[in-house]
C-alpha cells in the first residue's frame, strides 16, 4: 500500500505553504540552461521534472552565504553588542535531490563539534526537506560511488518518486514529513520504480587509506594544474562549509558577519607574516580532497561528499573531486 499525490496537488500545497508565511525553496528554471534552488514566489515556478539536478545546493537554507553574527555600536568608550536574532521562519525545501538532502546530517557533525552553532541548529529545526528521487543522471553524477543512491533518504523528511503520469508516490521518512502531507495523499497500489543510478566508478569510502600515503606525491600538480582558483566548486557543493568572518561597517557601527569562503582562494591560509602553507594551487586542491575524503571521515565517520557532481559541473574547466580522484587512482595510488 502506497501513498500518492498529483503534481497539481503539490502545487496547491506550495500555495498553501506560502500563504502560511513559510519560505518555500525549490528547483527553478532561472535561465534556459540553468536550474537552481531558489525561494519561490508562486507554485508555477517549481520544477518537478525535466532536470538532472540544480547547479547549486540546499545548504544555503541552513547555512546562508551571508549571515550577521551580531551588530556592534560604539559611542565613545561605550560598546554595545546586539546578537543576531535566531531565525524563526519555517522553511520547506521541495523537490530537493537526495544528494542535497544527504548533506545536511553530514554537516550537522561539524556545526555541533563541541561548540554548537545555534543559528545553524535553529534553521535545521525550522526546515523540512522533501526530496525528489532521481530518474536520470548525467556524466558528473557519482552518488553510487560514495555509498548513496537515487532514492537515498538521508536528511529527507519525505521522499517523492515520480510515477510518470503526473503523480508522485510519497514515502514518509520522518514526523515532519508526515505532518506536511497528512491528509493530502491518496492510498494506492502503485509504487514507483527505483532508478539504479549512475554506474559505480569506485568506492570512494575506501580512498582515505590511499590518501594517507599520497600527500607528498609530486603528481598533485599534474592532476590539478588547470584549476583556476575560484570558489565555484565549493559554493555549488552541498557539503562545503568553510567560511570567513569579517567586520562590515565602520568604527562606530556595523556588524560582524560570516560569509562563505573557499580553500581554493589564494589567500585562504595566508598568515599575517606573509607565510602561506598552501601557496600553490595544487596544495589547495589537495586540501579539498583531503578534507572531504580523509579528514572528515576520520573525525566524524562520514565523507564530506554526496557524489552530486556539482563541483565538476560548475568548474570553468571541468575539474572537481571525481576527476582528481580518478587521476590519482589511475596512477596506482
Amino acid at each position: 500500500m502506497s501513498q500518492i499525490i498529483s503534481k497539481p496537488a503539490i502545487r496547491r500545497l506550495v500555495e498553501l505553504w506560502l500563504r502560511q508565511g513559510k519560505r518555500v525553496i525549490a528547483p527553478v528554471q532561472v535561465r534556459p540552461n540553468l536550474v537552481s534552488y531558489q525561494p519561490v514566489r508562486g507554485p508555477d515556478q517549481v520544477l518537478l521534472e525535466g532536470f538532472v539536478r540544480p547547479l547549486n545546493s540546499i545548504k544555503q537554507v541552513v547555512f546562508p552565504r551571508h549571515e550577521q553574527l551580531f551588530q556592534y555600536r560604539v559611542r565613545g568608550k561605550q560598546i554595545d553588542l546586539l546578537p543576531a536574532p535566531l531565525p524563526d521562519i519555517e522553511r520547506i525545501v521541495l523537490a530537493a535531490r537526495p544528494c542535497d538532502a544527504a548533506a545536511l546530517p553530514i554537516l550537522d557533525h561539524v556545526f555541533n563539534w563541541e561548540f554548537r552553532d545555534a543559528a545553524y541548529n535553529r534553521r535545521r529545526e525550522l526546515t523540512t526537506v522533501v526530496t525528489l528521487a532521481c530518474t536520470e543522471y548525467d556524466a558528473h553524477c557519482f552518488c553510487t560511488s560514495v555509498g548513496s543512491r537515487p532514492d537515498d533518504t538521508r536528511g529527507s523528511d519525505a521522499l517523492l518518486l515520480d510515477l510518470g503520469d503526473g503523480t508522485l508516490e510519497v514515502r514518509h521518512t520522518t514526523d515532519k514529513g508526515q505532518s506536511l502531507f497528512a491528509g493530502q495523499t491518496q492510498a494506492s497500489t502503485r509504487t514507483a520504480p527505483i532508478s539504479p543510478g549512475p554506474e559505480r566508478r569506485a568506492d570512494l569510502r575506501r580512498v582515505s587509506q590511499s590518501l594517507e600515503q599520497a600527500f607528498e606525491r609530486s603528481e598533485w600538480a599534474a592532476w590539478t594544474n588547470r584549476c583556476l582558483g575560484c570558489g565555484a566548486c565549493a559554493f555549488g557543493c552541498p557539503t562545503c562549509h568553510c567560511f570567513d568572518m569579517v567586520d562590515e561597517g565602520g568604527p562606530t557601527c556595523g556588524a560582524r558577519v560570516r560569509n562563505w569562503d573557499a580553500c581554493q582562494f589564494g589567500q585562504f591560509t595566508l598568515h599575517a607574516s606573509g607565510h602561506n602553507p598552501r601557496g600553490v594551487q595544487s596544495q589547495r586542491q589537495r586540501q579539498r580532497i583531503y578534507h572531504k575524503f580523509h579528514v572528515y571521515p576520520k573525525k566524524f565517520g562520514e565523507l564530506l561528499c554526496t557524489g552530486c557532481g556539482n563541483c565538476t559541473r560548475n568548474c570553468p574547466v571541468s575539474l572537481g573531486v571525481l576527476p582528481v580522484l580518478e587521476a590519482m587512482q589511475a596512477e596506482g595510488a
Partner: protein, 277 residues
C-alpha cells in the same frame, strides 16, 4: 585540423622549442573539452579541437603554476588572441617567449560567435586551418548589447538587481578573465577594505561595477565571465558596455592592434576633454 595541430605541437616539443603546450583535451564526449598541459611529445594525442573548445586558455600564461612548466606554446582562437595582445601591451607577457598556435574557428555556439570578426587568428606564429564563416561587419559588433541598452533605465536596474542577487562571490569571473591579474585583488585588501566582500546586493553591485571599471578599455569580449558564472549571470553585458564606450569615445578596440596605445595607459594632446571648461 586536428592532425596539423597535433603535428605542430609534437614538433615544437620534440625539438625543444617549447617545454609545454597549453591546449584543449577531452576525456569523454559528454564533458566539455578542458585545458591540458602537454609536456611530452608523445602525449599530443590528448589534444582535441572541436566546436566545444570554449575556454580562453590565455589566462594560464599568467598562472605561476603553469609558468613553472617552462616556455609555452598556446592554442588560441581569434577571440582569445586579443587577450594576448593586451597582455603584451600591458607588459604582463613577453610575446617572444611564447609560441602562439592560432586555430581558425567557425564558432563555438556562443553569443559572441554570432557577431565575430576574428574567425581567423591574426597574430599567431602558426595558423591551423581556415575559417569558412564570414567575418561579421563592425556595426554588428555590439548588437546584443545595443538591444539591451535600449531598454529603459529602470528596467535595466531591475534586471541587474535580479541577476546580481544570485551572485555568490565565487570569483570565477575574475579567475577566468585573462585580464584580471592583480596579485592582490581589491577585494583581498583590507587596509582599507574598499568593498563589502559579502554576497549581498550591495557587495555584489560593488564588485561587478568595480571590476567592469578595471576592465574599461581593456575587455576584449572573450565572454569567459558569462560562460563560467555558476549562477548564469550575463556579466559580458557589463564589461562589454565599457568596451563599447572605449570604442565610441577613443576609437579604441582592445586587442586588435599590437601597435595601438592603451586607452587608459596613455595620454595624447588630442584627447577630447569637453567636460573640462
Amino acid at each position: 585540423m586536428l592532425q596539423p595541430l597535433r603535428e605542430t605541437c609534437r614538433r615544437l616539443l620534440q625539438d625543444g622549442t617549447v617545454q609545454v603546450v597549453i591546449g584543449y583535451g577531452q576525456a569523454v564526449r559528454a564533458v566539455e573539452p578542458y585545458p591540458v598541459f602537454i609536456t611530452a611529445p608523445d602525449d599530443v594525442g590528448q589534444l582535441v579541437w572541436n566546436e566545444q573548445c570554449r575556454t580562453n586558455l590565455v589566462k594560464y600564461l599568467l598562472r605561476k603554476e603553469i609558468r613553472a612548466l617552462g616556455k609555452p606554446a598556446i592554442v588560441v582562437k581569434g577571440c582569445d588572441e586579443r587577450a594576448l595582445v593586451v597582455l603584451q601591451q600591458e607588459l604582463q607577457i613577453d610575446r617572444s617567449q611564447i609560441v602562439v598556435i592560432g586555430v581558425a574557428c567557425d564558432g563555438m555556439d556562443e553569443p559572441r560567435c554570432e557577431v565575430c570578426d576574428a574567425h581567423q587568428p591574426r597574430f599567431a606564429d602558426h595558423i591551423i586551418g581556415h575559417a569558412t564563416n564570414e567575418m561579421q561587419p563592425a556595426e554588428r559588433r555590439y548588437a546584443h548589447l545595443g538591444e539591451f541598452l535600449e531598454r529603459p533605465l529602470p528596467d535595466r536596474m531591475a534586471y541587474w538587481k535580479a541577476e546580481l542577487e544570485r551572485c555568490v562571490k565565487c570569483y570565477a569571473c575574475r579567475q577566468a578573465c585573462p585580464l584580471c591579474y592583480c596579485e592582490r585583488c581589491i577585494v583581498e585588501k583590507n587596509r582599507p577594505a574598499c568593498l563589502d566582500t559579502s554576497a549581498t546586493l550591495k557587495g555584489n553591485f560593488a564588485w561587478h561595477i568595480v571590476r567592469a571599471f578595471h576592465l574599461a578599455g581593456r575587455c576584449v569580449g572573450c565572454d569567459q565571465c558569462s560562460r563560467v558564472c555558476p549562477e548564469g549571470i550575463d556579466l559580458r553585458l557589463l564589461n562589454l558596455s565599457m568596451a563599447r564606450e572605449a570604442e565610441a569615445s577613443f576609437g579604441h578596440r582592445s586587442g586588435t592592434d599590437p601597435q595601438a596605445e592603451l586607452v587608459l595607459g596613455s595620454f595624447s594632446q588630442q584627447d577630447q576633454e569637453q567636460f573640462i571648461r
